[in-house]
């Protein structure tokens, strides 16, 4: 599997998602995300935001068109290649995502431990550093069910920014989150973009990303007729 390092990071080329599988409108979705770009997508319906992020991750079957990540069409890859490629995506999702049988520290580091050969100490050190950056006292070792909702949001941020993600699919982590998280989040976002990551920031409320207005490359709205470009100026 050879990934493309130049050109668009994520390409939705008239991709028509299966309505039965996703509930997304079965209309062509077209978008292009370059490395280092940050695209805000306004989605009022949280379920649609989840499904749109799923479509970008190749989890939603398409009736037509294609979705390419790093130059590779999700539909043409085998399971192992698909999983390896998804290992390069950092995601914050509104869908329940904490396995109940693992401690939070393992759930945070699971993706890195599974997809990379990085030494365990490195992974733990990075997770601890990010945990502190996002306002946690250290890498949380309790089970996710024992953490407060605010700490879970912080832990989700840590998990998403772990490693060196090439694509970040962020389903509005700043909504209903502690105010002090905003600076840490935006700082991590900028660092990731500087390292070449593309960001799709799904928001429900336009007010949330206004503090980062200068950094946003483009703005879209997830509507019944697909993705609609919105002027940011």
């Amino acid at each position: 599997m050879e990934t493309r390092t130049v050109g668009p990071l994520l390409e939705l080329n008239k991709a028509v998602p299966s309505f039965d599988e996703s509930g997304l409108p079965p209309v062509p979705f077209s978008m292009r995300l370059m490395p280092g770009e940050c695209v805000v997508v306004e989605a009022r319906d949280p379920e649609n935001a989840i499904q749109f992020a799923d479509m970008c991750s190749g989890l939603v079957p398409l009736d037509d068109g294609s979705v390419k990540f790093m130059g590779l069409d999700w539909a043409e890859l085998h399971d192992r290649e698909v999983n390896a490629l998804r290992g390069r995506i950092g995601r914050i999702t509104r869908r329940p995502s904490w396995p109940t049988f693992l401690g939070t520290h393992l759930a945070i580091t699971l993706q890195q431990l599974h997809h990379t050969n990085r030494p365990m100490d490195d992974v733990v050190a990075e997770a601890t550093r990010l945990s502190e950056q996002f306002g946690l006292p250290g890498l949380p070792v309790l089970r996710p069910a024992l953490l407060s909702p605010a700490d879970l949001v912080r832990a989700e941020c840590v998990r998403a920014f772990m490693g060196r993600p090439r694509l970040l699919l962020l389903e509005d982590p700043l909504e209903a989150s502690p105010v002090e998280l905003e600076n840490a989040f935006l700082s991590a976002l900028t660092d990731a973009r500087d390292k070449g990551a593309g960001v799709i920031w799904l928001v429900r409320n336009n007010a949330i990303w206004q503090g980062y207005r200068q950094g946003v490359t483009s703005m879209w709205r997830l509507a019944d007729d697909g993705l609609v470009a919105v002027r940011t100026g």
């Binding site: 799923d54 989890l59 698909v82 390069r88 869908r95 329940p96 904490w98 396995p99 599974h114």
Partner: protein
């Protein structure tokens, strides 16, 4: 309101009086037509058959998948090894006392009684072969299978079922974590090793307890190594293959069946539907393995 709605609700049932109330008038308007009734019943029968066959086919495919993946070095990542270790610890470490206790009870109830009655009938020479054929070859795999199912298999059904219906499995897939590789394969293999280990320990505990009880009650006077020697001599070359294979297979299918029942849960499932399904499937699987091995070999 129809009489159906007035009738008391069945305890523990999933009947919804509101939905039933909506459906009843439609049912009442339809005249009874024999061929439609037969068609409905046949459709129901076909649905049940297809549903059962579906799980059997999934089991077959997944069995091959587990065996195939387990021989690939790339499959044994840190996370997979961790899950294998944790499950093995839970299956063997957690089930050890229960298995030894069940083995002891079997020794008291079955082995010592067998020794006593065979001695009384003057068939003491057959003790070894009867213990091997009845206790070790037939009873032990079934009881160990039931213990595995109840203690760890149902846990897998519940855990994976809740993860599937809760959406966590989908989230794992979004991170590139294949649930088959990360959960099904290591858990199934841990159950396989656990089935063999607990089966051997169960057999040993049953035979030893049976010997101790018989020795204390004065039914036999042989030393313990002579008793075990008689048992070992009574085993045929096929027994050396079939008995371990039966323990291994029971562990394998209980582990795989539990994981797959959990992973194939749908949004309509909850604990009330998952647990009975997991238990009945597990019991059927254990009995089927036991019968299959007894048929040909």
């Amino acid at each position: 309101m129809s009489e159906d709605n007035i009738a008391p609700r069945e305890g523990g049932g999933d009947r919804d009086p509101i939905l039933e109330g909506d459906a009843t008038p439609h049912r009442q308007r339809r005249p009874f037509v024999l061929h439609e009734w037969i068609r409905e019943k046949l459709a129901w029968l076909g649905h049940i058959t297809r549903h059962q066959a579906r799980f059997f086919l999934i089991m077959l495919g997944a069995s091959w998948g587990v065996i195939y993946e387990s021989f690939r070095s790339h499959s044994w990542r840190r996370t997979v090894c961790y899950e294998f270790g944790v499950t093995l610890n839970s299956v063997i470490g957690g089930g050890l006392i229960a298995t030894l206790f069940a083995g002891t009870l079997t020794g008291v109830a079955a082995v010592s009684q067998t020794i006593y009655w065979l001695g009384l009938a003057g068939l003491a020479k057959m003790t070894g072969s009867i213990l091997v054929n009845v206790v070790i070859r037939e009873i032990a795999p079934i009881l160990v299978g039931i213990l595995l199912l109840g203690r760890n298999g149902m846990l897998s059904v519940t855990e994976l079922g809740l993860l599937t219906t809760g959406g966590q499995i989908r989230s794992m897939q979004a991170q590139g974590l294949d649930p088959f590789l990360l959960l099904v394969m290591p858990r199934t293999l841990a159950f396989t090793v656990g089935g063999f280990t607990l089966g051997i320990l169960f057999s040993f505990a049953a035979l030893l307890t049976g010997y101790i009880i018989s020795r204390i009650s004065g039914v036999i006077t042989n030393p313990v190594w002579t008793f075990f020697y008689d048992v070992v001599v009574a085993m045929s070359s096929t027994d050396y293959l079939v008995i371990p294979l039966k323990f291994i297979t029971v562990g394998f299918v209980v582990g795989l069946g539990g994981c797959l029942t959990g992973l194939t849960a749908t949004n309509e499932d909850n604990l009330r539907t998952l647990l009975p399904r997991g238990f009945s499937r597990g019991m059927l699987i254990v009995m089927a393995v036991s019968v299959l091995f007894s048929l040909d070999l």
